[in-house]
């Protein structure tokens, strides 16, 4: 039976793991992720969820346990943040290379030092090369829906890759909003039982991910790249199907808002994409042709969607909630990369905002847009990367 509850994104991720009939959860607590696994532990304890909950002693062990569990052919889930994710780093590579469709909720929290518990994307984005699919959510409802969509995607035989469902710490993880949970029957018909591509079986012993010499290694890696390309095609299909069944969809790879005739397109990720709509509406009322594009999926990177947004736009402004030291924000780099070689490309202005949880309001986004519009008019991007509201 469909129900509406008022709860946090973390708890909803727990509800989603339950709805997905996950069989194994191995996790280690870290602020601000803890309430995801506390909720799951509650469900397992009171029998609402038929799953094995493995208490491990670190995030590295959590991922190792997930790899092993997924390797036996069962649906597996975990969650972490920040340094916890970083601690799993080598295992992340192993999980994707083993082609195991683990779904992990990453509750985004800044990497230290200095120590921070507040949100930015430095944790998940520094893992962008590990072969994991990455989703970035902008609402509690989207977190619930995306966990389910992720399993559907990852378990597709053309994909078989693990996925991170990212949500900003505190902004979503600890914020209560209403959300709809569809009936279990409807969810089961959307997400059938997991059929693995390979699995460990004591009756048919096999070892996996074995040593590959240079003469075949590239081909294994190429198949991961192919899987990512397949994911790029499947994600919008799954999102649309989910929308038809449950009434919620998010634009597939990129959630576009009023971009059709825009002079300026603002690129964001996560909740900034939601607040950007408020800024866009306000500026549109003032007669400014601004649109916003929220990058919902960072890996695989939606190059083609970016190119489609060129339209008549003269300016792209990217708002990055992290920085690659010594270079620029990742969104800025990847968007510029997507534009190379295309016709009539807009200029690109890169902005860094919201690091370590610095609040980003729709007013801040409006300021970013107006600065970009000014540069658009003069035809010159005065600064390649602007750190927004930096203290003097």
């Amino acid at each position: 039976m469909e129900q509406t509850i008022i709860d946090t994104a973390n708890h909803l991720a727990g509800y989603a793991a339950k709805a997905a009939r996950v069989k194994v959860v191995a996790a280690y607590p870290i602020t601000p992720q803890t309430t995801v696994v506390e909720k799951i532990a509650e469900f397992v304890e009171n029998g609402e969820m038929d799953a094995e909950y493995i208490r491990v002693e670190s995030e590295h062990s959590a991922m190792a346990a997930c790899i092993s569990a997924a390797a036996t052919g069962v649906r597996t889930f975990t969650a972490t943040s920040s340094h916890g994710l970083a601690l799993m780093h080598e295992a992340l590579h192993w999980a994707s290379g083993s082609r195991l469709p683990i779904v992990m909720t990453v509750v985004n929290r800044a990497m230290g030092a200095p120590w921070s518990i507040w949100p930015d994307f430095s944790d998940s984005l520094s893992q962008r090369d590990t072969g994991w699919i990455q989703f970035y959510c902008a609402s509690n409802q989207e977190v619930f829906d995306t966990v389910l969509q992720a399993y559907k995607l990852c378990e597709n035989e053309q994909v078989f890759l693990p996925a991170m469902v990212c949500l900003e710490g505190f902004i979503l993880s600890h914020t209560y909003t209403p959300a709809k949970i569809p009936s279990q029957e409807k969810i089961d018909s959307f997400l059938p039982p997991y059929k693995s591509g390979w699995s460990l079986d004591v009756d048919h012993p096999v070892s996996h991910a074995n040593l590959v010499a240079p003469d075949w290694f590239m081909e294994f890696r190429y198949s991961i790249q192919e899987a990512m390309e397949n994911a790029k095609r499947l994600i919008p299909e799954i999102d649309r199907d989910y929308g038809k069944r449950f009434g919620f969809e998010y634009g597939g790879l990129v959630e576009k808002y009023r971009c059709e005739d825009a002079d300026l397109v603002l690129f964001t990720m996560g909740t900034m994409g939601s607040d950007a709509k408020i800024a866009v509406d306000k500026m549109r009322k003032e007669g400014l042709k601004v649109g916003s594009a929220r990058i919902r999926v960072f890996r695989p990177f939606p190059m083609e969607e970016i190119r489609k947004l060129i339209g008549n736009a003269q300016m792209f402004a990217t708002i990055d909630r992290h920085i690659s030291f010594g270079m620029e924000g990742f969104l800025a780099t990847e968007i510029k990369s997507s534009l190379l070689g295309q016709k009539d490309t807009p200029k690109v202005a890169g902005f860094i905002a919201g690091l370590g949880g610095r609040d980003v309001s729709s007013e801040t986004i409006e300021k970013i847009a107006k600065k970009s519009l000014k540069w658009m008019d003069t035809g010159k991007v005065e600064e390649e990367t602007v750190w927004v509201d930096l203290r003097k």
Binding site: I6, F170, I171, T175, Y176, T177, D359
Partner: protein, 189 residues
């Protein structure tokens, strides 16, 4: 219409729960809602904040609350160490848990309402680990002071959250706070 509420309390007093219950009551009345704590490490006894948003439209905002329409202060000592009127909208309402009458509190540029929620808790023996529970009664006071939510929905949400004797006591506290709340801007105050 969007209303933003800031709640000042002490860690462990249930400020976050108060925000959630308020949001829940407004949700029953068909509003879009959001409730969240001040995002940070919290210690039992330290001053903390929680927030709620209530709107007729879906809420796309995720930024912090800077100019609340209403402020709730759960502890009588807080307004002496924290500026509870910071950012408060013009003619905003501050509802305080205190034995003092509104005009004795001395907050400027706002409408002030007060109720002795601690006293009500002690009267009803509504204690948790020896500390008086004030976060449920203050919602009754909020309903009376602002008219933004109905008392009946506050009671509904309380009874849905706590069952049996606990539910009854908390609901009674909210009713008493509703009756006893004094609005400083009314002549009789």
């Amino acid at each position: 219409m969007l209303r933003e509420i800031r709640i000042h309390g002490r860690g462990g007093q249930g400020s976050v729960t108060a925000a959630e219950l308020l949001a829940h009551a407004a949700f029953i009345e068909g509003k879009s809602v959001q409730a969240f704590p001040y995002f940070g490490a919290e210690r039992r006894g330290a001053p903390v904040k929680a927030f709620a948003r209530v709107s007729d439209e879906p809420i796309l905002l995720h930024s912090q609350v800077y100019s609340p329409d209403y402020v709730i202060v759960l502890d009588p000592m807080i307004y002496k160490v924290v500026d509870v009127t910071e950012g408060l909208k013009k003619d905003g309402i501050v509802i305080l848990n205190t034995v003092k009458k509104p005009r004795e509190i001395g907050l400027k540029n706002c409408r002030v309402a007060s109720v002795d929620a601690t006293g009500i808790a002690l009267e009803l023996n509504l204690l948790v680990a020896g500390s008086p529970v004030v976060n449920t009664s203050i919602l009754g006071a909020f309903a009376k002071a602002t008219g933004e939510i109905k008392l009946e929905n506050v009671l509904k949400v309380i009874n849905e959250t706590w069952s049996g004797a606990a539910g009854e006591k908390n609901a009674k506290a909210a009713e008493l706070a509703y009756e006893r709340l004094i609005k400083g801007w009314e002549d009789s105050a």
